[in-house]
Subunit: 352 residues, 4 copies
Amino acid sequence: MIVVTSNKVSEERVAEIVKYIEKHGVQAHISQGVDRTVIGIIGKFDPTLAEHLRQMSGVEQVLKISKSYKLASRDFHPDNTIIKIKDVEIGGDQLVIMGGPCAVESPEQIDEIARLVKKAGGQVLRGGAFKPRTGPYSFQGIGVEGLAMMAEAGKKHGLLTITEVMTPEYVDVCAEYADILQVGTRNMQNFDLLRKLGTIQTPVLLKRGFSATYDEFLNAAEYILAGGNPNVMLCERGIRTFETYTRNTLDLAAIPVLQGLSHLPVISDPSHGTGRRELVESMCKASVAAGANGLIVEMHTDPDNSMTGDGVQSLFPDQFAGLLADLEKLAPLCGKRFDTPKEVIEPGSWKK
Amino acid sequence: MIVVTSNKVSEERVAEIVKYIEKHGVQAHISQGVDRTVIGIIGKFDPTLAEHLRQMSGVEQVLKISKSYKLASRDFHPDNTIIKIKDVEIGGDQLVIMGGPCAVESPEQIDEIARLVKKAGGQVLRGGAFKPRTGPYSFQGIGVEGLAMMAEAGKKHGLLTITEVMTPEYVDVCAEYADILQVGTRNMQNFDLLRKLGTIQTPVLLKRGFSATYDEFLNAAEYILAGGNPNVMLCERGIRTFETYTRNTLDLAAIPVLQGLSHLPVISDPSHGTGRRELVESMCKASVAAGANGLIVEMHTDPDNSMTGDGVQSLFPDQFAGLLADLEKLAPLCGKRFDTPKEVIEPGSWKK
Amino acid sequence: MIVVTSNKVSEERVAEIVKYIEKHGVQAHISQGVDRTVIGIIGKFDPTLAEHLRQMSGVEQVLKISKSYKLASRDFHPDNTIIKIKDVEIGGDQLVIMGGPCAVESPEQIDEIARLVKKAGGQVLRGGAFKPRTGPYSFQGIGVEGLAMMAEAGKKHGLLTITEVMTPEYVDVCAEYADILQVGTRNMQNFDLLRKLGTIQTPVLLKRGFSATYDEFLNAAEYILAGGNPNVMLCERGIRTFETYTRNTLDLAAIPVLQGLSHLPVISDPSHGTGRRELVESMCKASVAAGANGLIVEMHTDPDNSMTGDGVQSLFPDQFAGLLADLEKLAPLCGKRFDTPKEVIEPGSWKK
Amino acid sequence: MIVVTSNKVSEERVAEIVKYIEKHGVQAHISQGVDRTVIGIIGKFDPTLAEHLRQMSGVEQVLKISKSYKLASRDFHPDNTIIKIKDVEIGGDQLVIMGGPCAVESPEQIDEIARLVKKAGGQVLRGGAFKPRTGPYSFQGIGVEGLAMMAEAGKKHGLLTITEVMTPEYVDVCAEYADILQVGTRNMQNFDLLRKLGTIQTPVLLKRGFSATYDEFLNAAEYILAGGNPNVMLCERGIRTFETYTRNTLDLAAIPVLQGLSHLPVISDPSHGTGRRELVESMCKASVAAGANGLIVEMHTDPDNSMTGDGVQSLFPDQFAGLLADLEKLAPLCGKRFDTPKEVIEPGSWKK
């Protein structure tokens, strides 16, 4: 940690600041500059001390040198975290594809989509039972019964399942039904939810907030890790920028950045990252080329009539299968394998 | 609602889209353009229909003409909402000042600060018992006992109180102690929390999310209003932009914009909006000049040692009193009155 | 300047970095941390050395402590710059209002508007002869003859004039006709234009780029100052953010920030900052309350038919006069005087 | 084009607006909604009419349905533009790699780098003779003599050359020496420069502005096309967002978006897009996977001592060659070929 004083602060004030620092059991090294004094603090980063120093008069800047998160950092855990769920390993050399509808709508719908995800070669079935919606008058998901429908479909077709949990009180019931719990972008800093997820062992896919920095994102993961749940994967899903043509701006550099700063697996979500079906396939390929450990992709048998309106970013089943076939070839060039059995899906060969 | 087709879509497809629209009991008006067809839909805005249309093939854009929120809109409620709590009216011609520390730290601290807020002429005591923090190792607030301390101090000094609630399960206890409940920026789209706040009548100060559009902000308010609680005030507290010198970019145009779109009171938070003490006073004045119904301002008796590190954006008590004296003169030029009794606070005249 | 090494870099590499630094005639102070070494560099900031260090292996961060601009900094020039043009002083205690159309359209139009600006109490006539437009098919301004029309109108009505210059080759002709030259937001980093403006003495109003940080903005001013022209004023005109309801997000904190970092006058442009007529008046008042040295405001006699389409953000003459009357009262509360003679303008009392 | 009236505007006003529209020789179709009237305008988009309508009282929104750019649009030119320069085709099925230093520093430097670019399999040599720099005290490029050095090196090693031009008056001399002229991000809306580039036939690589929307970017290209130069390629080089860990946020979705909206080739610049060497390779692969027609990549023989400080984002020659070898395998999976002769470059096998 480094403290930079204001321009032309008195020697007395510098001495007081140093004294304050040393009271906290850490050493202060002074470098006297032309206009400002720089005080290096030796010892572990102490966020509270940093905050106090930042607000002292005579202090212009407090610069963090070490990171505020620990368990999420690769400095503390050099090897990749590999999350093993049944026969799927996330974070290693396997490419993992999570596919399915935005929302679970009926037993028939989720069963048919599960069949198609499996046929195409995916390993995880996605689907929301609780939906976060901008306005109160939009469809909010079918709730707990949707969880059961999805669990049933996953089991029948040999797929893991992932679903979103929105509030601490639903964590236990969601964990009972699903293999992976998703924290949505609007809840990345819902700290009570994160704390609750730290108390279980179910793997969590944590989505990056609309406008979260990498540092904030990793600190959010730290909440779950610090609670005792090591099974966290990070999900880049696009950030909010001035560009409105796409729903969000998919920040693919986040993939290698997060893999460098952290040991946690990184999943990419091109469906929300672009909001446009015609961009999903190229952004899936780009994500894999960038080193993603997996993808979460919306696929729907009848996107024109999806209940959430996210059909516009959902692939048709034949597109989904075509994409996965392409990824099988691409993966080995990017240090991954994606060797699940895959079958072609013909257009129109599914039940709407 | 307007539907714009893709370039050169077939007449058959247009007919299908129109048929789909009419099945929903609304009328479609067709305008045939050179390359595209425009379909105007007459009738109330139906978000579900809009979502479905947006995802149909042959549809390029669906443009919302009317707004997706109703109860929050000035179209539906032309007069200003005035929230009356004891003798304070928020949203009318009175300027309301909420002052206090970032966090309640001890009974002595909050009592002394309450005394100073009252002396300076403020009407509401702010203070957090539950603190949302980026990282899990930072001070998280002192919890429920802080609520009691603040309620006690408010009562003793004749001030209303406002405090942040972070999770649905704490809404009831917070409402027991505080006059106004605050929803923080990270929770603007914590929909379960909003729904819970809709079930009570305690006034709510809803802070704008880091990167929330006006439309999303008003939709979040709509959740509370739709639940049955009409006592909502909106708070502009700075948005996230590329500029990092200030903690956030305070968007003061939000004040007249929100007052135009909605009937709800608008409060400004220059402390979080800038993150720098030396900018708070000018931004408070600018907020009042822009038409704000009130301000929420951090003030601390010992900002160098505040427990959250937000001291850097807290005014000293003498600065706070000086500001309020200036605002008393400024308010009448901006259509407000701010005629509470006010006394000068001398530097160093308070207990740390 | 501070150099922070990467995690666990070898002592040898640190020694090499230090040697490299000392070769440049500056001293290096080493603080050995737990994982990283911090090297403080004593001496003037050298941007080239910083750039070289930043790219050396073993270096994680190079932190600038002193600023990269000098002549624009208040550290080097503690007193406010006051630019005196005829009887107008910009940067002192006088509030300066620049009003007029987006574009000069005809001799009659600019003469009538000049009359109204003077009558309302403004000191400077604005108007563009060269217009930067997003697309090539939009009206591009009437060119050099517009300069002459505006100079004539300014002279007749006793107003200074300001106009935009877009390219180095037009600097001389614009300077011949106008009292102040404006650099538009798109040209803030048109360095050849800035260099050319550094070679003359005509005052320059430099608009902040769409997405320029304060540091970049002041560095752009530094180009003009370093060339030998000390007469620079800074103009906050809104930045680009995710919010699209307003044309830009007017960053009013920029006013006190820039006045703190620099000695140059700061002007606010609420017309471009909001893009909406109904927001201009409140944002003008807020700008003055925030401490602006002046305002540049669009006013038009026939905004429905303005040639650039910026009529939507132009005040009508009666609104403009009403605003200036309000500002006369507001200014003294904000440390300014605005005591020019002012007359009421009745709606419809002007020639379209 | 669609005009939406304000809430509850009178029938008389609607009639006036319609009359105004019809005076311009286009037809107006009226759809009467519950609160608002929607007027569809049939006929070519007229930006001036749109601007006038937008500023009329009673008008809430004017929505553009067709695009404001024409020559740049795929609607008007369905086939890909292929720019043929000697034996290189940009925009077709060939992947084109432009490599080289940020700045030309000496004849020996640029000659050695040209040798390495060719050896690795690149087709174009990049290098700046004129450098746009944030501050006036940074290295500004070596000027015209750098152009000659680069032309010489390109000729000797059989590479095309690309260099940045910053001001209209240097267009001719740059075009004399270089095969492709680059417009930098700060100059994307330097309209005089764009107009001048429209008068020649030399291919232009137009970089996206820091915060330019796709629409503004394509309108900037339209300036060059409208002037008569059809040889324009678009370059995504990262946009400015709230995230500061990377120099910019590389928006890879821009690649398929721009290729959909336009027929012009799209080049990606991961060096400026990330600002960090360790991210360049993965972002180059991701760009190709996203469908880029080419890459522009910084490579330097001695990045620790590059004169601009951009060494931190420059690849070493061996990394560059390794990347190109990988791209040769990747390209065919993405519909491209990259079959230039390639040789391995051993670490340390070059002259610094």
